[in-house]
Symmetry: C2
Subunit: 325 residues, 2 copies
Amino acid sequence: MNNTQVLLKRRPMGAPVAEDFEAVTTTITGPQDGEALIKNEYISMDAGFRNWMDEGAGDAVLPAMALGQPVMGLTVGRVEESRHPTLRKGDLVMGRLAWEQYSLAGDDFLVVLDNQDNDTPWHYHLGILGDTGMSAYFGLTDIGRPQAGETVVISAAAGAVGYVAGQIARLMGAERVVGLTSSDAKGERLKTELGYDDFINYRKPDLNQQFLNACPKGIDVYFDNVGGPLLETVLNHVNVGARIPFCGAVADYNTQHPQGPSNLFQIVTNSVRLQGFMTHLQLERYPEARGQLTAWMKKGQIKSITHEYDGVAQCGHAFADLFSG
Amino acid sequence: MNNTQVLLKRRPMGAPVAEDFEAVTTTITGPQDGEALIKNEYISMDAGFRNWMDEGAGDAVLPAMALGQPVMGLTVGRVEESRHPTLRKGDLVMGRLAWEQYSLAGDDFLVVLDNQDNDTPWHYHLGILGDTGMSAYFGLTDIGRPQAGETVVISAAAGAVGYVAGQIARLMGAERVVGLTSSDAKGERLKTELGYDDFINYRKPDLNQQFLNACPKGIDVYFDNVGGPLLETVLNHVNVGARIPFCGAVADYNTQHPQGPSNLFQIVTNSVRLQGFMTHLQLERYPEARGQLTAWMKKGQIKSITHEYDGVAQCGHAFADLFSG
């Protein structure tokens, strides 16, 4: 059987470009004993995976991706054939597989989805009901915990995690929700479509003054998807007792020599809690989070926004677009 | 009445030197209405105050110190005369006053000490029962929480906070306690006198290899008094779920352009909690902490180590010595 795969052709230097990837047609046979053949219906483009594209990037969580192999990513698909101990033909699964039409899954990270609820589009499990939605939910419910009267700032606010986080922060009772974004056009959409109170365009000058204007009472929660120089700026505006759910450090992924904030002492003097988290370490809580997010969606209190590309071969382009703003 | 005071003569460039300070003899009259006259019996030398010696260093916690004025610091003293609403003649107080023989205290930060227990030397209230002991206690009980089987690493392990933290970590059940220090001689004392299992001399080469040797199971708790480049190295050795009570950033105080860790992404991938804290925000818990620390001392499970200088005029020298290792 033919399979379209997108390979890591070369390791990106800085921001990924479409030419770092190559779509090829291969053949697939199987499954072998212990494996399932999965047809990937949706593949999500997650900036976080950029981190494992570098030489020697392997860590406690994942090994570095191999050159010439299909790029690792999250997918939603159907089990077409199974010799796997737990997966059955017809199961709908979300897993860490690869940018390919068909995958052979063995002991990969996989979750069987309960899709009784036919109202839920499958691809929500790669977005608002998937890892990005979980990131927003866990980061705010476990670490951020916005209280009445507080100001929440969200970086990459128009991104896959950020747009959900902003909506959740409001629902949890934050007084003021402010988004950091790269253009006024995106910022205006945050206000008109997602209920943000204000936005900060970090590409414009006078960033400190923008923070003072947008956050007149300082910052109590900073949901950080970015790290880097913006984190340094934010640390100059945090209130005592601020919480920073640290979800990603996109600013570091594309840099050969990332620089940390020079003002970490602000974390001491303001008793700030900066805490990283990985949704995959809390799989047992996905049902709770999905239940809450689905309930909010059904009441129209939170909305899902997606941007779709058609065809596995487009993965390289789509991924590069993530980093071009 | 004559008063010996030590003034901030010039703002330190980098590490403070004795010449940044000047001892002078002045006269003091008072107290005025609302004030108490306090005779300072002990003055503690806390590296953390270096931070407020810089131009424009004022923040949410404290204003920058003024040139030509007595240097701000923590003292233990007796109220000699009072027109203050709550202080009474004879009260033993610990407060944020200044490097001077006599202070006039108004709405300064002051705590009246219960010194019923005549076994406790007064100066313990500037050390193991004062802010440094509280820092060690709060940092480990609130944030670090070492568990059985875990490895705890302490920076500035031979310092005023570190030597207490190491002992508490052991009492809380850590399997392995490792100190970071600037010389083998200090490291050996940590092992023989304070029960540390091992030490790392951060001035020696092969720091990564030293970490691998001293912490074969990785790092679960890093009690950080230092920040800076050591924090970066530690972040490459943390286990998933590690906690970092962030007590001070001495490495930054003396640097014009401090550099943050370039690998903050480790905080995300390892779900690390990095949390700053200030003991003065938890005054209500001092009695609990003092009670526990005193109980441990009486059972011989924890010991106090002090280094004393004689005479207010020595403050400048003593403070500079803190930074020369």
